[in-house]
């Protein structure tokens, strides 16, 4: 009798282990949020001796932070735009039809995130230099677009695969032309996947450091600003504030992307 109950209900130990895992994953993020309010500016003393909003004021008055933030936002927008276009085209081409060489092409479309970022970064730098360029704004965008398009591709192709092929056939049989079928049948079905892919691509690009350090040259994106602060600890409280801002800026698109692709809202075929 006991064993039957075991299959349906977790033991206390199993529940505790699972809950402990979640706490382990979340606690460090809360630590950062807490430290952004500490009155202590020299050590990492815990618990903080007092709480203040002072550092937000100091950070918001800093021009270098705003400049880095602006650059990161512009890069992320540009990279997301390129990724949306290229990723969607690829997803449409590879979603349903079978053809020779498809497997290696599919592999190529996951390679930029399957290989470690440092390889992508160093390869891009070697490539940029080999054609006589130096890293600039557009090389950052090109690097980000390369791995962001994988994210868009994955999101859109997952949706297209769930879409019954008969819908397109029905639309064409009923006299719609290709453009009408795309506009009235396909687009409404993939719109939320596109949006979700774009959101994730934006968050990924806004936050990227490993590839960016190679492709940015002297440009300072927000993660690069942050990275250099890690080795210059004199402005610790400001770094904490920027960390909180970064968490918020990436959190919103990620949560939106999740709600846009939640399994129970995915319409036909799911």
């Amino acid at each position: 009798m006991r064993s039957r109950r075991d299959w349906n209900r977790a033991s206390l130990g199993q529940k505790l282990a699972a809950a402990a895992g979640l706490v382990f994953l979340h606690a460090p993020v809360w630590v950062i949020v807490l430290y952004a309010f500490t009155t202590e500016d020299r050590t990492y003393q815990f618990p903080p001796p007092g709480l203040t909003l002072h550092w937000f004021e100091v950070a918001f008055a800093r021009d270098d932070i705003w400049a880095a933030m602006r650059l990161s936002l512009v890069v992320a927008l540009a990279a997301t735009a390129v990724a949306l276009l290229l990723g969607t085209l690829a997803a449409f081409a590879l979603a349903k039809r079978e053809f020779r060489g498809k497997e290696s092409i599919t592999l190529l479309f996951v390679l930029p995130i399957a290989l470690p970022g440092i390889i992508t970064g160093l390869a891009l730098l070697a490539g940029i230099r080999s054609i006589g360029l130096e890293p600039n704004f557009w090389t950052i965008v090109a690097g980000h677009a390369t791995f962001c398009l994988v994210i868009v591709y994955n999101n859109v192709i997952a949706r297209l695969r769930r879409l019954p092929g008969s819908w397109v056939e029905a639309s064409m049989d009923l006299g719609a032309d290709g453009l009408q079928t795309f506009r009235y049948v396909l687009l409404p079905q993939i719109a939320s996947a596109l949006l979700a892919g774009g959101m994730l691509a934006f968050a990924l690009s806004f936050d990227e450091i490993i590839v960016t350090l190679f492709t940015a040259g002297h440009q300072q994106t927000l993660p690069i600003w942050f990275y250099s602060e890690l080795f210059r600890p004199r402005e610790r409280p400001i770094t904490n504030v920027v960390a909180v801002v970064v968490i918020l800026v990436t959190l919103v698109p990620i949560l939106l992307a999740y709600y846009l692709t939640k399994p129970d809202e995915q319409g036909p075929g799911s």
Binding site: A93, I118, L230, A243
Partner: protein
């Protein structure tokens, strides 16, 4: 015009696919693959010892340097050992969470856990590394928690362990290992819980009915069936650890890792061929690992 064009393309598959594929393929083919081949080519160059300039002639000199200098071999071995340790630890820690998500949690709880795992996974990489630097620092939370639990002695003897120890958690391999496991844990939990969800409950019941104890069922039924998920997750933990250069330089011991070597050689040292040769190491290791994982069915669980 556009309208008649798109109608024209429907049903003319090959042409239509080629037209759709051309822009993304051109992009990845030139920007990405082109760069990768440039990198590969660079690894077969070498720098002139006197002028410190890259000599664009094909040679195996750089690879010889990589595989014969003990310091370089040490770096590769150290990185691989860390990647293996991190992979095993992530699998062990991920299992109870993934198992709970897949088997016991109701729909609401499952969604809660899914978001709970996904959010930290997508939270800024740098911010998480920074957070751990704060946590592991000398007066930080880790030592505060250990002190309030009265475990200082235990920590001191752990840090006194040769090789993995160090002056503090923030500057030891133990600290680095904790940070790596934390960073890649979600990448293990998600594919693992997807694989566990596919294990039919009836198999577990059958195993119990046939007299297996829970431990036996776990070893002989659950783990083999979860293997594709474990393999898929381990691709991430292994590959991400192999290539990382920020964690070892922010939290860590003095010993170098492959990623740090790549970054330093192309930057301050100005030895692009050696950096390229070092970056080929993770590519080869990951290719080997992928072919192994493919045999275990990892790609069905991605």
């Amino acid at each position: 015009m556009l309208r008649s064009l798109s109608t024209f393309f429907h049903g003319r598959n090959a042409f239509y696919i080629a037209l759709l594929l051309a822009p993304p393929l051109l992009w990845l083919g030139t920007v990405y693959l082109g760069s990768l081949f440039t990198l590969l080519a660079q690894s077969f160059y070498a720098i002139d010892e006197f002028t410190a300039k890259v000599v664009p002639e094909l040679t195996l000199k750089t690879y010889r340097q990589l595989f014969t200098q003990p310091a370089n071999v040490d770096i590769v071995v150290r990185t691989v050992l860390m990647a293996i340790a991190v992979t095993i630890a992530s699998a062990v820690i991920a299992f109870p969470i993934a198992n709970y998500m897949a088997r016991y949690a109701g729909p609401k709880m499952k969604a809660f856990f899914y978001v709970g795992v996904m959010l930290p996974m997508w939270t800024s990489y740098l911010v998480k590394v920074y957070a751990w630097r704060l946590i592991l620092a000398k007066q930080g939370i880790a030592s505060w928690a250990i002190a309030s639990l009265g475990l200082e002695r235990g920590l001191d003897s752990l840090l006194a362990t040769p090789v993995v120890g160090g002056p503090s958690l923030a500057s030891s391999y133990i600290g680095m290992f904790i940070v790596f496991v934390y960073m890649w844990l979600p990448f293990m939990i998600l594919p693992l819980s997807a694989a566990l969800e596919r294990v039919p409950a009836s198999l577990l019941q059958a195993s119990a009915d046939l007299g297996a104890r829970p431990g036996q069922t776990f070893r002989n039924v659950v783990v083999p069936l979860a293997l594709p998920g474990l393999a898929a997750g381990s691709i991430f933990t292994f590959s991400l650890t192999l290539g990382d250069y920020i964690i070892p330089s922010v939290v860590g011991a003095p010993g170098y890792f492959v990623g740090m070597m790549v970054y330093q050689q192309q930057g301050t040292a100005g030895n692009m061929p050696l950096a390229a040769a070092f970056s080929v190491v993770p590519i080869v290791l990951i290719a080997l690992y992928l072919s192994l994982a493919k045999r275990l069915g990892a790609f069905d669980a991605l």
